[in-house]
């Protein structure tokens, strides 16, 4: 059996962000490269969302476990900054899953992120844009806290980066 890059990416769909269990690492955008050598050695390159995210090491081990579970014994999983993560790397499917989970997806931006977009984030519960940033720091490094003036609820946003 010879595996393709697409096969590996399909397997990695199984690996979820431990802090946001609806989101796969592929949809999160942290899998930056998959290579398979002629001898069948699989190399997976990953990059952290936030450099201090304590879940990254766990995710790396989860990738290794998943490869082994599918009978892949020759592999290397690297954590690198070669292709640094930014929130535009979240897939459309990932954004949809975040919203369903009750986390506002990060707005997409062009080239340079202006943090003014943190004001008036769309509420994941009622879609109102009449919201206020309460604090850029939330329960995990990747979340900010907002208040919706329309449905009067606090909500969290996956931070744009």
């Amino acid at each position: 059996m010879s595996l393709t890059k697409e096969d590996i990416l399909t397997l990695l769909e199984e690996v979820k962000d431990p802090e946001i269990p609806v989101l796969s690492l592929v949809d999160l955008g942290v899998i930056t490269g998959v290579e398979i050598s002629d001898e069948g050695h699989v190399t997976v390159n990953m990059t952290p969302t936030f450099a201090g995210c304590p879940a990254m090491d766990y995710m790396k081990k989860d990738v290794e476990r998943t490869l082994e579970k599918h009978g892949i014994s020759k592999y290397t999983v690297n954590m690198t900054f070669d292709k640094p993560w930014d929130s535009n790397k979240l897939t459309e499917k990932g954004r949809q899953h975040l919203k369903e989970f009750g986390l506002a997806p990060p707005p997409k931006y062009d080239l340079i992120l202006d943090l003014d977009i943190l004001e008036h984030v769309k509420c994941p519960y009622c879609d109102s844009e009449d919201t206020t940033l309460r604090t850029p720091f939330g329960p995990t490094l990747c979340r900010s806290m907002h208040y919706c003036n329309n449905c009067r609820q606090m909500f969290e946003q996956f931070k744009p980066l």
Partner: protein, 251 residues
């Protein structure tokens, strides 16, 4: 490029982040309001993550692994500026230090993201996005509190006056300064300081705080060369306390 110059640059970046990260973590459980407790704790986590990224680059250049480097050196082997090792003091002092430090850090990272030394450029590109949130946090509070009650303004002004000599110490030139500039690795401390000054002035102008004449202040230099205040060694002892019980433990 002289590898010693690169290492010197990496050590000062990493050590600043590690030590301030540790100080920030001391607010965990003690913040004046819940959001600030979380903010300083989150920034602690970010900064320690940043130090790890730079210690990893040092490790790739042949230095010991990040845990060994972080937990087994003594104060005189640290290259952080004295600003970051000062005790937290009251919230006003921590806030002013955070404001002065992070506005410099983001300038450093922006410049380093254009560095000719690719490994640093990649890490800096990533980290500058995270530090943006730290700067947003600092600037928002300084603008709000710096134009609020008489007590808030007095406290912040006094902390600003106290912190400034140490803040200027952040820009102590390295002995490899010109070499790094010539090689396009780093634009240098003078360039960082000039841009930092513009940015902090722009924020302070929106408050009732006054920036003293910087020419009249003598910078607290020495940190980059291992000369520290009496506050660093106790911090290191506490930080490494658990690690030293069993350095080989798997966490």
């Amino acid at each position: 490029m002289n590898e010693l110059a690169i290492k010197d640059l990496l050590y000062k970046l990493a050590d600043d982040e590690l030590i301030l990260g540790h100080r920030n973590s001391e607010w965990t459980g003690f913040g004046p309001i819940l959001e600030e407790d979380i903010a300083f704790s989150s920034m602690a986590q970010d900064k320690i993550g940043h130090s790890l990224a730079f210690y990893t680059l040092l490790n790739e250049l042949g230095e010991a692994d990040p845990d060994t480097v972080a937990f087994t050196r003594n104060a005189e082997q640290f290259h952080n500026s004295q600003l970051v090792e000062l005790p937290n003091g009251e919230y006003d002092f921590s806030l002013i230090r955070h404001f002065l430090y992070d506005n410099a850090e983001i300038v450093r990272f922006e410049m380093l993201s254009r560095s000719s030394y690719e490994p640093i450029a990649k890490v800096a590109t990533k980290l500058k996005g995270e530090v943006k949130y730290h700067v947003l946090h600092a600037n928002t509070w300084i603008k709000n509190l710096g134009a609020s009650t008489e007590e808030a303004i007095l406290r912040l002004q006094s902390s600003l006056n106290e912190a400034l000599p140490y803040a200027l110490g952040m820009f102590e030139p390295s002995k490899y300064e010109q070499e790094l500039i010539d090689a396009g690795v780093y634009e240098g401390e003078e360039a960082v300081k000039a841009e930092w000054l513009k940015r902090i002035q722009a924020v302070l102008e929106k408050t009732d705080l006054k920036l003293p004449d910087l020419e009249s202040i003598e910078p607290k230099f020495g940190g980059r060369y291992g000369q520290h205040t009496e506050h660093l060694q106790p911090l290191l002892d506490e930080m490494a306390e658990v690690f030293k019980i069993d350095p080989t433990a798997e966490w």
